[in-house]
């Protein structure tokens, strides 16, 4: 210790050690969240194929492992060992960068989500805004990939996706303003706590209009059916990532599925009460309060993800002008009216 005292005072050393421990804890949390998220993506694809298969009266993957349970690993291995093809006319630096931007934006969002009352990587006071910002940044990845591929399909896909995500981000943001007014905070954990103490237990009941607008906008925001025009197979091959193969394609895929996970988590936190369950349910069935919060969180998230798949198996794709019409002419006015009513109720009560 004697040597250190000349360089650093004991108090400073103490705080340095504390800082080191904090950093270590955050690193461990990041590893846990990333590991779980990657595993989630692997099995989300399996879950999706199974659900859609059974809805179409098929079986889905059955070959690799019992009931195809190892299919995600087979797919992953295949993607890793595939040739990384690059169009000769492509804008190389941008082409390399765009999947990384897309995936990094999606993964960064994971760190602001409160999974339970005390497990989150960053408890930021503007968490909700940060999630919006990150999903907005993801658009850059999409647009840059479409531009740099130097292919008409990728380009049109990128344009469509950019226009769509930007338009629906407005509707989604406006639909969440009602939640912000009711909770009086942008901090995601505070929003959950506000729901726990509210009359209905979840915001989905008083904010039913905002909830519906959010669900529609969330499906459009992640470019999923029926709003999957950016990757409309019959017109655009695969949309903005047409020219990507192998590992880079996997990055886009990962980003898309993590985007779905984030939208599902956002819906869970803002409308379905996050890791809590409404007080009237625990009143009727008191033993449910012993179930850990992460279980409720995951049940709600996977129910929403199941809803994504369910919609995909049911509804055909919208036409592009219908898509824009729904976004600008219906969802945004409805969301604005919802804000007005919520604000009035908040003032008058």
């Amino acid at each position: 210790m004697g040597i250190f005292e000349n360089i650093i005072s004991p108090a400073a050393l103490d705080s340095l050690i504390k800082f080191g421990i904090d950093v270590g804890i955050i690193l461990i949390k990041i590893v846990v969240v990333l590991g779980v998220a990657l595993l989630h993506v692997a099995y989300a694809t399996y879950f999706e194929r199974k659900v859609i298969g059974h809805m179409q009266v098929r079986l889905g993957p059955m070959r690799v492992g019992p009931h195809g349970l190892l299919q995600p690993f087979a797919d992953g291995l295949k993607l890793f060992f595939k040739e990384d093809v690059m169009p000769s006319e492509a804008d190389k630096p941008v082409f390399y960068l765009s999947p990384i931007i897309f995936m990094a934006a999606a993964m960064t969002s994971l760190s602001f989500i409160p999974y339970t009352g005390n497990f989150m990587i960053a408890d930021v006071n503007v968490g909700l805004l940060f999630l919006f910002a990150m999903s907005g940044l993801g658009v850059y990845g999409i647009f840059m990939s479409g531009w740099s591929s130097n292919s008409k399909y990728a380009f049109i896909g990128g344009l469509r996706s950019t226009a769509q995500v930007i338009s629906y981000e407005i509707a989604m943001g406006l639909s969440l303003v009602g939640v912000m007014i009711m909770a009086g905070s942008l901090n995601l954990s505070d929003i959950v706590k506000a729901q726990e103490n509210s009359t209905f237990g979840i915001f989905a009941i008083p904010q039913i209009i905002g909830f519906i607008v959010f669900v529609i906008a969330a499906v459009a925001e992640t470019n999923r059916t029926p709003f999957d025009l950016p990757e409309a197979e019959s017109e655009l091959v695969a949309g903005y990532f047409t020219e990507y193969s192998g590992f880079r394609f996997a990055l886009f895929f990962l980003g898309e599925y993590i985007g779905m996970l984030i939208m599902a988590s956002l819906c869970t936190i803002c409308f379905l009460g996050g890791w809590t369950i409404p007080w009237y349910i625990t009143k009727i069935l008191p033993f449910l309060s012993y179930v850990p919060g992460i279980v409720w969180f995951l049940i709600k998230v996977y129910a929403f993800i199941f809803f994504y798949y369910w919609i995909r198996a049911t509804v055909p794709r919208y036409r592009y002008d219908q898509l824009m019409g729904i976004g600008w002419k219906i969802l945004i006015p409805v969301a604005l009216a919802n804000i007005l009513v919520t604000g009035l109720v908040k003032i008058l009560w």
């Binding site: 659900v51 298969g53 059974h54 809805m55 179409q56 009266v57 098929r58 079986l59 059955m62 369910w310 919609i311 198996a313 049911t314 509804v315």
Partner: protein, 181 residues
């Protein structure tokens, strides 16, 4: 459009009733049994009289093909995939291009001697055209493989009325004329 219809239309739009109906359907289908099967592991039952790969019938006693080379099958074949060559009054070559065959079964129907049959084999994909050109030897081997014994004997009676039974002189009118089979 009167007022009532307009109200109904608005309710329909606002409640997404049609989408909800569709979603109820897909959800109910999710819990029904899948209609697909795991093909190489499970196979569908082949219906009796299935028209698969061809075979040339072998006479049970002489072990020679029953085919006399009359050419009726080649004539009736809509895709003209049967080629017969004869030498010294015997059938020398009998070739079927199965890639061109449409499996109508006219050749079996046309044959007065019950010399060509269709087996229940439908899994004979291969890499070359040559491998799928069925020569006389291959067709005879098919018979031995799929139609040997009782099966081959019953086949024509069960699924094809041989023309000899319809067109031949009734047995009680002309004694001594044998049954073609």
């Amino acid at each position: 459009m009167n007022f009532k219809q307009a109200v109904r239309e608005i309710i329909k739009r606002v409640t997404f009733i049609e989408i909800l109906k569709g979603m109820a359907l897909t959800l109910s289908r999710m819990f029904s049994r899948a209609v697909t099967i795991q093909y190489p592991k499970e196979r569908r039952k082949i219906a009796p009289g299935f028209r698969g790969l061809h075979a040339l019938a072998r006479h049970p006693i002489t072990r020679e093909p029953k085919c006399v080379g009359c050419g009726l099958c080649a004539t009736i074949c809509p895709s003209q995939c049967i080629k017969i060559t004869r030498a010294n009054g015997k059938v020398e070559g009998y070739e079927i291009e199965v890639l061109r065959c449409i499996y109508c079964g006219f050749c079996v129907e046309a044959c007065p001697y019950g010399a060509i049959a269709m087996t229940e084999n439908y899994e004979y994909s291969d890499y070359s055209r040559q491998a799928l050109l069925m020569t006389k030897d291959k067709l005879l081997a098919n018979w031995d493989k799929y139609m040997a014994g009782e099966k081959g004997k019953e086949y024509f009676k069960k699924f094809w009325r041989p023309m000899s039974e319809d067109m031949g002189t009734p047995v009680n009118q002309a004694k001594g004329r044998g049954n073609a089979s």
